[in-house]
């Protein structure tokens, strides 16, 4: 009898220990990092002082600060170019990162500004190794739910987003195929030119 209780305790203790040891150092950090940033974005969007079309530039400026902090555009760019990156000179790379960021900003900013109190839920964090994580969230609108996953990387003690998966489509993968196609038949300069045009036209 005594023995059995002891055994139970032993098992209990070791289970607890195992649980303790298995908690990775940064557990919860990436999730709260995205959640905080998204909440900061929502605060700006809901700010009554920033309503109306006249406040758009101010709003944009505020949002820019937040997402610069949230995204790792270098990681994003390199991952989309992969080995094509080596075909670019350092100056071209600089320009590419800059242009690519502008393209993304132009398209997604308008979408973000359309926000009208949809509910956003963060519900899952998956650690991938020690320095990467995937955070799953969904945006719940009246007619549908859109799953959005953030892939994050730990750099200098900070979790930054390097890929966004919207409705099961990874943006990095998607741009990668596009850039590949363009670079398979063209030069980096041509790609940059396409991007320059894209930034100018809207």
């Amino acid at each position: 009898m005594q023995n059995r209780i002891l055994k139970k305790r032993l098992i209990g203790c070791s289970l607890f220990l195992m649980l303790l040891l298995s908690i990775p150092a940064y557990a919860g950090a990436p999730l709260s990092a995205v959640e905080n940033t998204v909440n900061r974005v929502l605060d700006v969007l809901r700010d009554p002082k920033l309503k109306g079309p006249t406040a758009k530039p101010a709003k944009t400026e505020k949002l820019r600060v937040i997402y610069k902090d949230m995204f790792d555009e270098m990681e994003f760019s390199r991952r989309t170019l992969t080995r094509n990156w080596n075909k670019f000179t350092p100056e071209q790379r600089r320009e590419f990162v800059d242009l690519f960021e502008q393209v993304l900003e132009k398209t997604y900013l308008d979408r973000i500004l359309e926000y009208s109190n949809e509910k956003i839920v963060f519900y899952k964090e998956t650690m991938i190794g020690e320095d990467k994580a995937e955070i799953q969230s969904k945006v719940i609108a009246s007619s549908k739910e859109v799953p959005i996953y953030y892939r994050m990387i730990l750099k200098n003690g900070k979790w930054k987003v390097y890929d966004v998966v919207v409705e099961n489509v990874s943006l990095v993968q998607n741009y990668r195929t596009q850039f590949n196609e363009i670079l398979a038949g063209g030069t980096p300069e041509q790609l940059l030119e396409t991007l320059r045009k894209k930034v100018k036209t809207h």
Binding site: R83, R111, Q178
Partner: protein, 339 residues
């Protein structure tokens, strides 16, 4: 009824003729990829594993990431000696290295799906046609419709159309050996028919009942069985698809209850309303995709196959039968480097 069957047979015959290269069993490996377009055969292309797609046919749209790191795998320890990111300053100088497994997203490697596109010129034409159709016709009409009809009504219409296609979802849940899913769909159908005014409302999704929608279709079922996409095809009006996924066009016709009561041409009339209604609920989505894209055609093609692959994966995880067979299928060979 007879006519329906006849059409189904015709369609199947069509695909058989156009190309469902003969790959009998799910796990069977085609020795060689059938050559398509200007395609050189790469690796030993396989039909295996649902959406572990074909190796590329046209050579240029390959995803070089396949080749990024052939030695991928046990990389967690290797990652530790990844450069601590003082990178941001001199990152522009840094070369991209294949060997350093820096950019090797092993857990997401499945995403590097590719699809053969031997009829790209035709597809691009259809893409442009659909694009014009959206901007010139569908969008203006949907905007007017949106003004005229309040959102709850539009959601009801959407629910109704969704409700009608219950047989497809049910049959496919069964075919995919997802019995919980089939049960859930049957429950949804019963509840929404009775309490949801013939499917106009969706009480099954409400709290307390919470029967999740199962978006099962024939394309996924075939994917689960090991049939690959084949190649990319853009249908006029219907958009991105593949021979495999096109089976649903036929399936939708055969299993749509309305098609039994009404002459075939009414389904032509039904589709525009469905399209307009759905468009009115997702105005801006397509524009965002197009605007974000550098080459919209490629962006949509890649988006489509990524989306379908994840769907098949998700369905496979639910399946009683196929869940554990995930790794039983032979690995598709990674095509060689693109550059």
């Amino acid at each position: 009824m007879k006519v329906n069957l006849f059409i189904l047979v015709l369609v199947i015959f069509f695909f058989a003729a156009v190309g469902f290269p003969g790959c009998p069993a799910p796990d069977a490996v085609c020795a060689r990829l059938p050559e398509m377009g200007n395609g050189q055969v790469i690796g030993d292309g396989q039909w295996g594993r649902g959406d572990r797609l074909w190796a590329m046919g046209d050579g240029k749209s390959q995803d070089p990431v396949h080749a990024e790191s052939p030695s991928a795998g046990e990389d967690v320890p290797a990652r530790k000696d990844m450069k601590p990111s003082g990178r941001s300053q001199d990152a522009f100088q840094d070369e991209y290295k294949d060997e350093g497994q820096d950019y090797d997203d092993e857990p997401f490697a499945d995403e590097r799906v590719t699809i053969a596109d031997p009829i790209e010129p035709f597809n691009r034409l259809m893409h442009r046609f659909n694009d014009r159709l959206y901007f010139w016709l569908l969008k203006p009409v949907a905007e007017g419709y949106k003004e005229a009809v309040p959102e709850p009504a539009r959601i009801s219409v959407k629910n109704f159309y969704y409700h009608l296609l219950f047989p497809i979802r049910f049959v496919n849940c069964v075919l995919q050996a997802d019995l919980t899913g089939a049960g859930s769909e049957a429950g949804r159908f019963a509840i929404n028919t009775v309490w949801g005014v013939g499917g106009l409302l969706d009480p099954s999704s409400n709290q307390g009942i919470e029967l999740p929608k199962q978006n099962a279709d024939f394309g996924q079922t075939l994917g689960l069985y090991g049939v690959g996409h084949g190649f990319y095809i853009v249908w006029p009006f219907l958009g991105p698809s593949s021979p495999r996924d096109s089976v649903d066009i036929a399936g939708e016709y055969v299993l749509d209850p309305l098609s039994y009561f009404t002459p075939w041409y009414t389904s032509l009339g039904k589709r525009p309303l469905k399209m307009i209604n759905n468009a009115s609920l997702s105005l801006g989505d397509y524009e965002a995709v197009i605007e974000a894209a550098i080459d919209p055609y490629i962006a949509i093609r890649n988006g489509y196959i990524q989306y379908r692959m994840k769907e098949v994966q998700a369905r496979r995880d639910r399946s009683l039968f196929f869940r554990n067979r995930k790794n039983a299928a032979p690995e598709a060979a990674d095509p060689p480097p693109a550059n």
